[in-house]
Amino acid sequence: MWNIIASSVAGTSHKRLNTECQDYCSSKKIVIGDKPSFAICIADGAGSAQHSKIGATMAVEFALSRIQQSQLNWGEINLDWANILVEETVTYLSEMAAQQSLSIKDFACTFLLGLFCAEVGCFIQIGDGCWVIGNAGNVIAPTWPFSGEYANETVFLTSPDVLDSLQFTKINEPLEYVAGFTDGLQNLLLDFSNRQAFSGFFVPFISSVHSASDKQVLDSQLALFLDSDRVNDRTDDDKTFAFAWRDA
């Protein structure tokens, strides 16, 4: 049985400037083929885009509804399908922008989509942030944050030639847990010098989660953790963390 916890917390710099959290995260249970599956979708609005929070929300909600409506099976889920889904999402955002007389750049956001069931998972990413999974006791990052020459440059769902930067990974193996997070947390949870997930975080984390007696409390504990001094000392950006795991 899968469980999911997720939290988005505004970064300290956003709190100081009185701007809202520009991350958005949502998840849905869906049936893909005949397998009960989950979808988690996260988007991080670009700081410089005027309506990036709205863009992030719309992109996530559209992608999840589209998947729900599509009645997919796992065999169909591949890179071509991912490209089509992303194009449809971008088209939707352009239409919404046109309706409001805005440019699609005003909705700029990164995009992370994870679809998984007990035996298979697929992970799509545009921009920064990352997915991390647990498989056979290993901690693996099936995608990796995209950055340009400069630390604060990445690619967005709304960038031209977005499909060139789309990351797609499908894993046909049992997954123990799936974690998705935005760039506010990537320096804490990824080991950049070795280009891998940082197991010093994920191993104790899954252990804490398994040993928690009360799952209801985990959501609020996660929110407290994301807003703790330990985390805020290392980042002042918005932080979103979604974690799904199978009961041991």
């Binding site: 604060n152 320096n187 940082f198 975080f201 950006d237």
Partner: protein
């Protein structure tokens, strides 16, 4: 009440007490003693010498003599507290902070002597203090200083804010600005190589020129070389080049080296405000994520309360 025993050894004001419970030590004068009991509890004892009455206050973990909580040994507290913080057993990866490199190109030619150079010196102190007060900027902004007055000198090589000690400036000589610009751009290129070799990410570098005159090396190869390197660098987005002219600067010439933005004129000698703006802007840059190709909107230095006027 069971039988017990104790033996007291005195040496001046020092007392060692050996008893069934162990060894305790104390120090004091008749009527007033401080000590540590065999179980490690610290105490203060006040009494009436000879009468046998005394008052004892033990200082346990959470109170001091005033009954208030003392400051904890932070690491010890963290170790106790970690288990109570959600997911306290997790660790974080130790990735290096991304850096925001900034080269300050400072004119210290003879004409800057007196009040201008003093204000510039104070401005540098403000710059350092403002950055130091920001937890992330402190770790991310890296500063180098190239001065030009008579000769060109790397007055400070790249360091993060906690290693930045504003050099002592004195005004002298002519204005080899072209040579200084080339030196600064070379310094920046070397720094980028260091970053690449060590896997350190960085933000788009700043080159910030402050002058009160005109280059005196325009006739040699240095000036045209500097101009073309700035133009090429801006076009490739290799850095952002800013020029600020103090009263007396030749703005027509400064316009040659400003691409996509105008040189700014410092109002009076408001170097401190200039550097406060610079530190604030760098704090913003080290946080925001612009769309590719877009620039980050900075607080307008030529606004009503700004330190600059846009030169004509």
């Amino acid at each position: 009440m069971g039988w017990t025993w104790r033996k007291i050894y005195r040496a001046g004001p020092f007392r060692t007490t050996v008893s069934k419970s162990g060894i305790g030590y104390s120090l004091g004068i008749p009527g007033l003693r401080i000590g540590i009991s065999p179980s490690g509890r610290k105490y203060l004892s006040l009494g009436f010498p000879g009468l046998g009455f005394y008052w004892v206050k033990y200082f346990d973990r959470f109170t001091d003599i005033f009954g208030k909580r003392p400051t904890y040994n932070l690491n010890k507290w963290r170790k106790i507290h970690m288990d109570q913080v959600p997911f306290g057993a997790t660790e974080f990866a130790g990735n290096p902070e991304p850096r925001c490199p900034c080269v300050l190109l400072l004119d210290i030619s003879g004409s800057m002597g007196g009040q201008p150079i003093q204000e510039l010196q104070d401005g540098l102190a403000t710059y350092r203090d403002e950055l130091f007060a920001d937890q992330l900027a402190k770790k991310r902004v890296e500063i180098a200083i190239v001065t030009f007055g008579g000769s060109v000198n790397v007055a400070h090589s790249f360091s993060t804010v906690d290693g930045f000690v504003p050099p002592s400036l004195s005004a002298n000589g002519e204005t080899p600005m072209g040579q200084a610009i080339n030196t600064a751009l070379n310094l920046l290129e070397e720094r980028k190589k260091d970053y690449h070799q060590n896997g350190i990410k960085y933000f788009r570098p700043w080159v910030f020129l402050i002058t009160d005159g005109a280059p005196t090396d325009m006739n040699g190869p240095d000036w045209p070389n500097a101009v073309s390197r700035i133009r090429e660098g801006e076009q490739k987005r290799a850095f952002s080049f800013f020029a600020v002219g103090v009263e007396g600067a030749n703005f027509e010439i400064l316009t040659q080296i400003c691409v996509g933005r105008q040189p700014l004129k410092l109002k009076g000698l408001r170097f401190r405000d200039l550097f406060a703006w610079l530190s604030n802007s760098q704090q913003q840059v080290s946080r925001s994520i612009p769309d590719a190709g877009a620039s980050i909107p900075l607080e307008n230095p030529a606004g009503p309360t700004g330190w600059a006027e846009v030169s004509i």
